[in-house]
């Protein structure tokens, strides 16, 4: 008899180990899957994250036990920062820095678009987060997924789940978050400022030297940014050199896709009840959207300043592209400007500011790590 009830208990241990927390987290996983599948918010990330979250929260999930698949993925790629760096090679291989090289002044807008990082950091400190936690939350303002994962993975791994979810969910909401801010801060006349496409031929030599020079300069000034900028520029160097097309394509497609799947699953698996269901998660979600908004406000206001200084030649909308979120922010800028004046095409300028924002995000991440004294040394 005793053996029989033991067997029954063993067979039903799944049911007996269901906890309220795990049920809530399964609900969260379903929301993420819904957002990805039905709402098309960054499905490439939210679907694997949702799946990882679901699988990790099933009772006694062997996937997150020692040597479980999700645990193995986490250890091999998130804990040591490998996955975000591999993704960065792919981003570099897909990024065209041509528009930035054609109009190097745009780099200023990329810098302005990072302001939200530091304001959010201060807000998080005020709310009682520790310094490394506050820095990790602030990095949501870099509006760049891999950078957020990289920095928070080093500084506050326990917050990785909510920070990643906030960063990617809001990034997919860029087309919704940005336009009201852009319209609120600009007049119709400003939105109609035309910026003709300035055709300047960027030679192959410049395009090849650019990633090398940026890597050396940024790496020397901000050593903590070396991994991120190095991988980003490696991808770009492969693309621009044109001599390793197979490697470029592999980085931008197969490797990036594979790593995205692994990364999403592993991030999702960190979202388990006890760690995720805290007031701090809610605070992170709120602070994340503050970071986004402040970035956009700072970018647009700075572009307004540039417009005044240049005598009316800079459309302030372009500033909103400085926030990073490449290339979505640039497309939003083009769309808003085009709605005001169908003959105005800001896309190339916005792409330049956007590429500058991408670099600035990485630099800001390195600066934060340096300030926190973190890193592998």
């Amino acid at each position: 008899m005793g053996a029989g009830s033991d067997s029954l208990g063993l067979l039903l241990q799944g049911l007996t180990h269901v906890t309220p927390q795990s049920l809530v987290m399964i609900g969260v996983a379903l929301v993420l899957l819904y957002l990805g599948i039905v709402k098309s918010y960054e499905p490439l990330l939210l679907l694997p994250i949702g799946a990882g979250c679901l699988l990790a929260n099933l009772p006694l999930s062997p996937l997150i036990a020692d040597d479980g698949m999700l645990r193995v993925l986490y250890d091999m790629g998130i804990k040591n920062e490998l996955f975000p760096l591999l993704i960065f090679i792919g981003i570099g291989a897909l990024t065209d820095f041509g528009p930035l090289l054609e109009n190097p002044r745009l780099v200023l807008l990329g810098a302005a678009g990072q302001f939200g990082i530091f304001l959010t950091l201060l807000l998080a400190l005020a709310l009682g987060f520790t310094r490394p936690e506050a820095a990790s939350i602030g990095i949501i303002g870099a509006i760049d997924g891999p950078t957020s994962i990289y920095v928070s993975g080093l500084l506050a791994p326990h917050l990785l789940g909510p920070i990643t979810v906030a960063a990617y969910s809001y990034m997919s909401l860029v087309p919704i978050i940005l336009p009201p801010i852009m319209k609120l801060l600009t007049t119709q006349a400003e939105r109609r400022i035309r910026m003709p496409y300035s055709q300047r031929t960027i030679g192959r030599r410049t395009r090849i030297l650019f990633p090398i020079v940026v890597t050396v300069v940024v790496g020397t000034l901000v050593p903590f940014a070396t991994p991120l900028i190095g991988m980003l520029m490696l991808g770009n160097l492969m693309k621009e050199s044109g001599v390793v097309e197979r490697l470029t394509n592999a980085s931008a497609q197969e490797i990036a896709n594979t790593v995205t799947l692994f990364l999403g699953l592993a991030i999702g698996s960190t979202m388990v009840g006890a760690e995720f269901l805290k007031a701090s998660t809610l605070a992170i979600l709120v602070l994340g959207i503050v970071a986004f908004a402040v970035d956009a406000v700072a970018g647009v206001l700075f572009a307004k300043l540039l417009n005044v200084l240049s005598g009316g030649k800079v459309n302030p909308l372009v500033g909103a592209a400085g926030i990073s979120a490449f290339p979505m922010a640039a497309r939003v800028v083009q769309r808003v400007a085009h709605e005001e004046d169908f003959e105005n095409f800001l896309l190339m300028h916005a792409m330049g500011a956007n590429a500058a924002g991408q670099i600035a995000s990485v630099v800001a991440g390195g600066v934060l790590l340096a300030l926190m004294g973190a890193g592998g040394h």
Partner: protein, 169 residues
């Protein structure tokens, strides 16, 4: 950027490739000959006409870098000649002159929505241009009748290339 001009002259067809090295330097390929050309001035003349009796001597290729299209260069809104605002540029700015619909930036034409003879209103969609992986709707700079469509879907265009010309020129 390279532009190919195919010109009919006295019953013969000439292919001239103008390869832009810098804003004011061009490599012009006429047949087997290659010329390095420096552009010292470039202006679009309103109602420019090709002067009859003008016979370019062999070797005089300086004018080849100039687009042979009679692009009337009245800016879309200002009324000032666009070329005066943007000197030393091969072509006028965004939106093109009043006689053409031109590409505002480099890209690939995905769709063309008009054909020769169509009446268009200002702002009516002429084509879809893909640039930086974004679909951009190109609208007509003014009302008029389309005289000629210069591009086909799938075609790569450079900044300022004519997508369509108005019949009224």
């Amino acid at each position: 950027m390279t532009r190919r001009y195919t010109l009919g002259l006295r019953g013969r067809e000439f292919v001239i490739d103008v390869h832009e090295l810098a804003d004011d330097r061009f490599e012009v390929v006429v047949g087997d000959e290659i010329y390095d050309v420096t552009l010292s001035g470039d202006e679009d003349l309103p109602r420019a006409t090709i002067m009859p009796g003008y016979h370019p001597a062999p070797g005089v290729v300086g004018s080849a870098a100039r687009p042979p299209v009679p692009a009337a260069a009245v800016g879309p809104s200002g009324g000032a000649p666009a070329a005066a605002a943007v000197p030393r540029k091969p072509r006028p700015a965004v939106g093109g002159g009043a006689s053409t619909v031109s590409a505002p930036m480099p890209g690939v034409i995905l769709e063309v929505h008009v054909k020769a003879g169509d009446r268009v209103e200002r702002g009516q969609q002429i084509a879809v241009l893909e640039a930086m992986k974004m679909h951009n709707l190109i609208g007509a700079p003014r009302a008029g009748t389309i005289g000629e469509v210069c591009v086909t879907p799938g075609q790569a265009v450079g900044h300022g290339d004519a997508l369509a010309r108005y019949a009224e020129g």
